[in-house]
Amino acid sequence: MSTDPTRSEVLVIDDEVQIRRLLRMTLEEAGYAVREADSARVGQSELLRHLPDVVILDLGLPDQSGVEVLRRLREWNPVPVLILSVFGQEGNKVAGLDAGADDYLTKPFSTGELLARLRALLRRIKPAVATSSFRFGRVEVDLAHRRVAKDGQPLRLTSMEYALLQLFITHRDKVLTHRQILRELWGPNSESQTHYLRTYMLRLRRKLEEDLDAPRHFQTESGVGYRFVSEPSEAA
């Protein structure tokens, strides 16, 4: 999909000057406008001054936790946020996603991966799906009539499977944590019942994926949750 990024503005909130420099170089070359903030305080004032199209937020800021920044931001705005975490802080990452981050990357990350994630986030806020049907791989979902077909053949999904699929389509290209999915589908009392989710994911994949051992659309993020990718890159 050819989303034109020339007008898109990225706010980078990270205290490491070298990371900021490299991100600026990469992002400007890719056609983004870049603003920087080196602390949570500066980041927050930058957010208020002018809202960017997407935020790259480091979780380990010196003056305040990135999760806190995110929580305050989410009180008033749904701008897409990509969080950066370091190895070994899975808990932090999940907290960030639960607080409303849209995606995460673990340092050290690859530039290609970063750009792909940013593209996906921007694609979501410029909705291409105004229609009532959605397509991925060989599967077509008729959202208006709650019908699913694979290669033109109708596919029977249980209501829970369909609800799960719909949730993924709504939040496509975004990481959904276990807790978010469980709360959405089974209610807030089921947030720790991961086995519901595992079982239904297996059923959904069995019906919709080509290769169960290497799912392309319904990807697992270890210890975090799932990501639905409608257009997986061929390399992955």
Binding site: W186, Y200, T220
Partner: protein
């Protein structure tokens, strides 16, 4: 004498020597009578004396010989009795013999007669013989007794030291010593050892539970490094005797003996025995202290060696990719696009190596620092394998990876992130240690009993020899043909992470050649799933 040696109380794994020594001791120990000055019943000896004298009088009544003859018979009787009975009974024998001889034999019979000089002299010899004989016998007896008690003491201490030497640990030795002391002293004993905080800690095998008061007495004994409590000149109102365990100038603890209620005072040999016991135990404790110190020393040396190894290999492992990065970056200015592409390839390889190294070091640190808190959650084995394959990236790009996961496999209780590291490390290992292009097989299935899930990573490499397999999971352990690079941390992390999740990992041969690593996770039952329309 019976010493109750409860053989069941001896730990089954303690040496057989301890048992036999204890059994021997049971027959050799002095026991209760040792502590009570024997009331060798004087009444019984006196009765014996009366019996003998009366028997002679009765026999002599019918024998028609001169009364002088019986005078000599009684003299011999007194001498003979002096060898048998104590000092006072023999004197009693002299009196009874004199009276009987006079009353029964000296005419007129059955009445006391006035004695002539000769008869008086005879009576005098009775007392003389009784006094001399009694004295001699008493002396011999005393000697005999002290001999016997010395022998008993020596044998008790010998048995003790033998039992102590045979016990494999301080705990068992102390328990053996206390059991012996209980039997030997026929009372209750306790052993207080100096704890780390300078406080006295009672050994659990002690039979005497010390009251606060007795503990205070023990503390005094320890502080003064002098016996205190009962039978001593310090705090003698206490219930038990407290003997400090001294080695050189240091007190290591206190040995406490509570003797049977009847014992009011101790003889010197008895004190010696208790002191000897305390000295033996002190020796044992000191030994243990020295051994522990030696062990600590060895441990320190070992950890020092490990640190050096770690530092050496970490600096090597860090510096190699850094050298590559530096050299590649310096040549980046080149105009040759082909060369630039090759340099970029080198940079990215070096970077991945650094990344992996840091990850493994952090994981190992988390394992050892005890900071590892597995977040156990329901996981689908397919997800775990898939995540690990993605984490490995293109390290397995030019190999066929065959994944075989049994249908209907139950969910496992695991930490997805840790399992990703576990399986990724196993896959990377397979990639590193087998010929390029050889296949790798990942399989998962329920074991026949249905209690465990086995996830196996098998390769077609050279395989792993039996002796290497045993130590493969230790850190910094690398196979003899391992290629350069790597710290030997991967498998140690695999083991640690698996164990943290309640599982295990083993290595064995893959049928048809190669190595097979198997991660075993227990199967757990999860609750039912609502809204199940299937």
């Amino acid at each position: 004498m019976e010493i109750p040696v409860d053989s069941a109380a001896i730990p089954a794994d303690s040496d057989r020597a301890v048992r036999s020594a204890l059994a021997e001791l049971a027959t050799a120990m002095p026991g209760r009578e040792y502590w009570q000055t024997r009331p060798v019943s004087m009444a019984r000896e006196c009765a014996e004396v009366v019996g003998v004298v009366a028997a002679i009088a009765f026999a002599g009544w019918f024998v028609p010989v001169s009364y002088h003859f019986f005078g000599y018979v009684y003299l011999l009787t007194v001498i003979a009795l002096s060898l048998r009975v104590g000092r006072w009974p023999v004197l009693f024998a002299a009196i009874v013999s004199a009276v009987t001889w006079n009353y029964v034999f000296i005419p007129p019979r059955l009445s006391f007669s006035v004695l002539d000089v000769e008869d008086s002299l005879m009576l005098g010899t009775y007392f003389f013989a009784a006094l001399i004989g009694g004295q001699l016998t008493a002396r011999i007896r005393a000697q005999e007794r002290s001999e016997r008690s010395r022998e008993q003491r020596a044998s008790a201490l010998l048995h003790l030291s033998r039992a102590l030497a045979a016990a494999p640990t301080l705990d068992e030795a102390a328990a053996a010593a206390l059991r012996q002391a209980d039997g030997l002293f026929a009372g209750q004993t306790a052993l207080l050892l100096l704890g780390s905080g300078g406080s006295l800690v009672p050994h659990p095998a002690g039979s005497f539970a010390l009251s606060d008061r007795e503990l205070a007495v023990a503390a005094v004994a320890l502080q003064r490094r002098q016996p205190a409590g009962r039978y001593t000149c310090h705090l003698s109102a206490a219930e038990a005797m407290h003997i400090p365990l001294r080695r050189a100038d240091v007190a290591l603890g206190v040995f406490v003996v509570r003797l049977p209620a009847g014992v009011t005072d101790l003889t010197a040999p008895q004190r010696d025995l208790i002191d000897g016991f305390a000295a033996q135990i002190a020796l044992l404790v000191e030994h243990e202290h020295l051994r522990a110190a030696g062990e600590r020393e060895k441990l320190l040396a070992e950890s020092d060696r490990l640190h050096r190894t770690l530092l050496d290999s970490v600096s090597h492992e860090l510096k190699t990719p850094l050298a590559v990065l530096r050299s590649a970056v310096e040549q980046m200015e080149t105009d040759d696009p082909g060369k630039r592409a090759r340099l970029a390839g080198e940079v990215s390889t070096a970077m991945r190596r650094l990344d992996h190294l840091v990850a493994n070091l952090l994981n190992q640190t988390r394992l050892e620092g005890g900071a590892l808190r597995p977040q156990l959650d329901w996981c689908d084995v397919r997800d775990l394998v898939g995540a690990a394959r993605r984490a490995v990236g293109d390290a397995l790009a030019h190999r066929s990876v065959d994944v075989e996961i049994a249908a209907g496999l139950p969910l496992v209780r695991a930490d997805a992130v840790l399992m990703e590291h576990v399986l990724a490390n196993l896959l990377l290992n397979a990639a590193l240690h087998t010929p390029p292009g050889s296949p790798v097989r990942v399989s998962a299935a329920l074991d026949p009993a249905g209690t465990h899930i086995r996830i196996a990573v098998a390769d077609r490499g050279p395989g792993i020899s039996g002796e290497l397999a045993a130590e493969l999971f230790q850190k910094f352990r690398r196979g003899p043909q391992a290629p350069a690079g790597g710290l030997g941390l991967g498998l140690s992390i695999v083991k640690g992470f698996t164990a943290a999740q309640g599982g295990d990992v083993t290595v064995g041969p893959e049928p048809g050649g190669g190595a097979r690593f198997t991660v075993v996770l227990p199967v757990a039952a999860h609750g039912s799933i609502p809204n199940d329309e299937h």
